[in-house]
Symmetry: C2
Subunit: 309 residues, 2 copies
């Protein structure tokens, strides 16, 4: 990666918009691919409300595009598309890729790294997770509500100088970012929260406080987390024994939190059913683990997703 | 049963109120046990809007009570309590029972006959199902919206003179009523509609048109109906092969129908989780049938029920 790398953000919604704007604020050469917000951001730049300090980016301080074919070749591609748009990887990312491009997906769930690796070559791919709370509140307007952190890793496994450089780039731009020893385990740790809370929250249309507010709800959450933990172990990505209980405790202070999938349900938008439920189920079953609750939840989420679309 | 039998209605909500009022309208000696509507019905009688003809009952034309201990011994007890009140069978029904009392439960789901038989003796018990659409629209005010029918049978199995007499009593009072050869099969036939539509409708908060409106929804409904059919067969109550498909077709003209369990969810009232989901699951599993979708649905319904209470 060069001293002033070309950074392209594919999918500049809340997460992509926020991280891209932070990087641009700190002097990096950031190029955003936008769709619905293209005109507004080109005219007005970015406006960011953040618990780490509000800021704006004037129109000239970053580059915006409505077509990936107009963008420069990238040193780093940050993929923050909703996973329901993953069938657009080829047209949206191919134009940016040169021999040493690093492609980092911060998308939810499972399956995005594999799909990117198939298209562009495993050696290009890094994955990561954003543990944070960022909403898009208008065209080019972002609200970063809670401190958070990013954890990244090589899809091929193990630490790498490249992953460290990306983490430094982020960390120097007010984005807490560290490299994981084991990306796969990190993904399953996050899934063990996301699968029950996103899945049940969307299927049952209940906020997190309703789910953890009763004995029956906690029993159900823990049962699903155990299925996920069994799958993770069978796939060589064992998560800590006490993580399910810690997930419950950690969720209490979040109050009446709506997961992204519940919000998608309520707003009639496509839910990330395959990335958060379908792909973990397929991987777990492929490793010989029966996941009856997740299987039922997946079927029900597909039915809700279709019914509300 | 004597020429003018004493009929006691326990649980005079929509169904009990309507059938009791119809019997009283036709000159029968009907005694209602009421709770919240006691004062209103004592003062004003019953007011029934019905697709089979509206009618009213003046205060003197039926007997109302707020305490089962004040009621006469019954020839026929009609049990139309919500199954969530089944732990009240002993205090509410014991005072009415004499040697030859027939106790007919028209309650939803499974388990009520068994419970009544344990308390009062198997020889007293008949069961049945009301296929109709009746709502309580006010204190003592009932709206009978769709033609319907009642099917009854001996808990002990087979036809009986007593069951025939009850069916005649109903039929002569504008209530279409026939005797089933096999009550158990009748219950499972009805369950194969009630389990998926009530269960999913309440857990996912979707009306029937949303459930049957998509391929994913129909696939899920049919999968659950197949689990129910497998359980019914293992329990010696095999339902017709084509019933699941007929259930789907029959549900289409119902439009945006809210099942009772979905209405209970929306109004924060106890859902009939055990009668409609829990007891069929236990009986099916007891017969060696795995019912993974019903098992998950049951756990989720318990969580929704607890969360919304």
């Amino acid at each position: 990666m060069s001293a002033k790398p070309v950074i392209c953000i594919i999918g500049a919604g809340a997460v992509g918009g926020y991280y891209g704007a932070r990087l641009a604020q700190h002097g990096h050469d950031v190029h955003f691919l936008l769709r619905s917000d293209f005109d507004a951001v080109r005219r007005n730049g970015w406006k960011v409300k953040s618990c780490d300090g509000d800021f704006t980016l004037a129109p000239g301080e970053s580059h915006v595009y409505d077509d990936a074919r107009k963008m420069p070749k990238a040193d780093l591609v940050l993929v923050t598309l909703k996973t329901t748009a993953n069938d657009q990887f080829e047209p949206l990312i191919r134009p940016l890729v040169k021999e040493d491009t690093a492609i980092l997906t911060l998308q939810n769930g499972l399956g995005s790294e594999e799909r990117l690796a198939t298209l562009f070559g495993k050696e290009h791919i890094l994955g990561g997770m954003a543990f944070t709370c960022i909403n898009r509140i208008g065209a080019g307007e972002i609200d970063h509500m809670a401190e958070g952190w990013v954890r990244i890793g090589e899809f091929g496994g193990g630490p790498s100088p490249r992953a460290s450089r990306v983490a430094e780039l982020f960390s120097a731009s007010k984005i807490d970012c560290k490299v994981l020893d084991n990306l796969r385990r990190g993904r399953w740790e996050k899934l063990s929260w996301n699968i029950p809370f996103n899945g049940l929250g969307a299927v049952m249309d209940l906020t997190t406080d309703r789910l953890i507010g009763t004995e029956e709800g906690v029993a159900l959450l823990l049962s699903i987390m155990r299925e996920v933990a069994d799958a993770a172990r069978a796939l060589g990505a064992a998560i800590p024994e006490d993580l399910p209980r810690r997930h419950i405790d950690k969720t209490r202070p979040m109050g009446a939190y709506q997961t992204s999938m519940q919000i998608d349900r309520r707003e009639g938008r496509a839910m990330e059913v395959e990335a958060i439920l379908g792909e973990p189920l397929r991987q777990g079953m492929g490793a010989g683990i029966l996941m009856p609750r997740l299987a039922a939840l997946y079927e029900m989420a597909k039915a809700v997703n279709a019914a509300m679309a």
